[in-house]
């Protein structure tokens, strides 16, 4: 195997471990981590299973490989940025849920108070009438 392949394999495995650890620490929601783990599996499969890679190369007609390092660097950057966003999105969706629950509870309390107020009001009016 060539160095690039080793590099891809090692980085994908460490990515999977990182994703798992983030999930365990609740920095990443399971939904997103599943996507990330799926991506790792796809990249690993393509790397280890050379036939499919050769097929894709011939399909695209890419004979010249000098572009590869550029693509690799770009991919790593995107990867890190994306993982960062996944973590952010996880945190925010949790915060949004908390807020929405809070809103529901506050509205509920307001309704309860309003009905109680109305009840007291009507009862007072009734009493006044009797007096």
């Amino acid at each position: 195997m060539r160095p690039l392949e080793w590099f891809v394999i090692v980085s994908m495995i460490s990515l999977a471990i990182a994703v798992f650890e983030l999930t365990r620490r609740r920095h990443l929601k399971e939904d997103y981590s599943l996507l990330w783990l799926f991506a790792c599996v796809v990249v690993l499969t393509v790397t280890l299973w050379r036939g499919i890679l050769f097929y894709l190369t011939s399909l695209l007609g890419v004979g010249n490989f000098t572009i590869v390092p550029v693509v690799v660097i770009g991919a790593i950057l995107l990867l890190v940025i994306n993982l960062h966003f996944s973590v952010k999105v996880s945190k925010q969706s949790e915060q949004i849920q908390k807020l929405a629950e809070e809103v529901a509870i506050l509205k509920y309390k307001r309704d309860v108070e309003t009905t109680r107020f109305h009840k007291i009001n009507t009862e007072e009016r009734k009493n006044e009438r009797y007096e």
């Binding site: 399971e30 981590s33 599943l34 929405a100 629950e101 809103v103 509870i105 309704d111």
Partner: protein, 259 residues
């Protein structure tokens, strides 16, 4: 003859007691509802008929139909979530309200009328007697008439088996939507609760935190209105997500215990 008579007297006495205890206890039935305008009225009426001693709270999970209006007209408590967030969030809102209003027991029940409210006393009994903290209505504890697809059934069986293995207690139905929880248990869930599929993971969490879980056998009716099915993407996604969530919960709780 004498013994039998004594027996039946004891039993009726016990039943009388449970009836009185149910009247005394403060029980909140939480109905998470998303676009259930066709079923919600019937469900509420049935609960009122068969369990007049409970308070009912409908948590409307951002429905786009008349669920809210119908629930309001039926004289029950209604909490409206601003948008749809999944059943887990709806139930959690219910637990939070139960906690603020100081209920002794919170019961979760489906809005579509698949659960028979006459199980409510049986669900509450172990909690009122202090024998359990959480009571689950299980479709598979006894041979049940309830039919579901093979794939779904094997999923339920697998996750129940895994849950039983982890918490070292036989659990037969982790996906049941009919549960009763005492104050301590629902207070935990008002803090930590999974959003979209509150299943095996939640039960494992309860197990690790030392809550006593018990199951009662229930018969579940087949759906009257609408169809419930698992779409293909969900079918591929759900088991893996659930598995990942379980592994993470176990690791988190283990670490917590060491600390």
């Amino acid at each position: 003859m004498k013994v039998e008579a004594a027996h039946s007297r004891v039993r009726s006495n016990k039943e009388g007691n449970i009836e009185a205890e149910l009247q005394k206890a403060r029980i909140l039935v939480i109905i998470p509802a998303y676009n259930e305008e066709n079923n919600i009225q019937h469900t509420i009426k049935e609960i009122k008929e068969k369990a007049s001693y409970v308070d009912i709270l409908v948590v409307n999970d951002g429905s786009t139909d008349r669920t809210n209006e119908i629930a309001m007209n039926n004289g029950v408590k209604v909490a409206n979530q601003p948008f749809n967030m999944g059943i887990g969030a709806a139930v959690q809102t219910g637990f939070k309200i139960a906690s603020e209003e100081g209920y002794d027991i919170a019961i979760q029940i489906d809005a579509d009328g698949q659960h028979n409210p006459s199980y409510i006393p049986k669900l509450c009994e172990p909690i009122l007697h202090g024998d359990a903290d959480v009571v689950i209505g299980s479709r598979y504890k006894k041979k049940s008439e309830y039919r579901t697809s093979f794939v779904r059934l094997s999923g339920i069986k697998f996750f129940s088996w895994l849950t039983s293995l982890i918490i070292k207690q036989k659990i037969t139905d982790t996906t049941s939507g009919l549960r009763a929880l005492n104050k301590d248990a629902y207070s935990l869930f008002s803090e930590e609760y999974p959003t979209d599929f509150p299943d095996a993971e939640a039960i494992i969490l309860l197990g690790y935190r030392g809550f006593r879980i018990s199951e009662i056998p229930i018969e579940m009716r087949n759906r009257s209105g609408g169809i419930s099915f698992f779409s293909i993407p969900k079918l591929l996604y759900y088991p893996f997500k659930n598995l990942l969530a379980i592994v993470c919960t176990v690791l988190r709780e283990r670490r917590r215990q060491i600390k």
